[in-house]
Symmetry: C2
Subunit: 166 residues, 2 copies
């Protein structure tokens, strides 16, 4: 089965036969997949009245374990967005009653963000269906292919220095 990137690479091979464009077979597919999968996830979360970034914040706090709180900085690094974006997101989630801001007793520069009971209940309700939806999106891969794929992506991520979450 040919995909959009096969066509793209065939065009380059015809127009610029002097170039070996093999990297596009990986870079182009990661970029296109990222966009397509984002759309799918957006649609899924909308069915729960959630924005995708809201779930990201909830999930980051949830998986950190009790008491389900992290500093703004940790959230900003986990989400790979600027600190200003996190301030904005937290403002809206506080207004929605999903999280609360708590001053850090050790470092008065820091703000800790904590799941409310409502936020905790919501993320625990959504995460199961979310993983099932992700599995549906990846159903074209058999178990062996999944492992190989995850392994190659891990190699790449690690080589780019993405080894911590914040």
């Amino acid at each position: 089965m040919r995909d959009a990137v096969d066509l793209l690479m065939a065009q380059w091979a015809r127009e610029r036969p002097d170039l070996d464009v093999w990297p596009m077979g990986i870079m182009g597919r990661i970029a296109r997949l990222s966009r397509l999968l984002d759309r799918e996830l957006k649609e899924f979360f909308a069915s729960y009245g959630l924005e995708r970034w809201e779930f990201d914040v909830l999930a980051t706090l949830r998986r950190s374990g009790p008491p389900y709180e992290l500093t703004t900085g940790a959230l900003h690094r986990a989400a790979m967005v600027t600190s200003g974006a996190i301030t904005n997101r937290c403002d809206r989630m506080v207004a929605k009653g999903l999280i609360e801001r708590i001053p850090d007793s050790d470092d008065r520069r820091s703000i800790r963000v904590r799941l409310t009971e409502r936020g905790l209940a919501l993320v625990d309700e959504v995460v199961g269906p979310h993983v099932a939806n992700e599995a549906r999106l990846l159903a074209a891969l058999d178990p062996e292919e999944r492992d190989h794929l995850a392994g190659a992506l891990r190699t790449l991520l690690a080589s780019l220095g993405d080894t911590t979450l914040g």
Copy 2:
């Protein structure tokens, strides 16, 4: 080598042992790689005074072959952004002298966008170094891993229906 997604999955395994979060090993890595690679490409193109999206438009036109022109709609589908975004991008690239708008003689609703001589020269100058830069970013993979990775990503893209460019 562990990466950020290994940590994330270990957290979920601890907090929600009832869930098998294997899909995150692929979905999470595609999302994080996409962001990291975007940053790298942005930096690369900046060294040529280009935005990433400008190169995307130039490259889409260039690889379509002479006379290096496509409709606005074809660009919009190839770039996976809304038609409004393409109008905006084309406005700025016309102002910069990289492309020109030409009425379509067959369909008066359509506008054809064509590379100027300057746009053609620029994309032909940049594409080689661009591919070399992409190869550098993927250097952690050996040739066999590259092929397997590209193959698995192709399977996924095709299963999501991404089989044409416009």
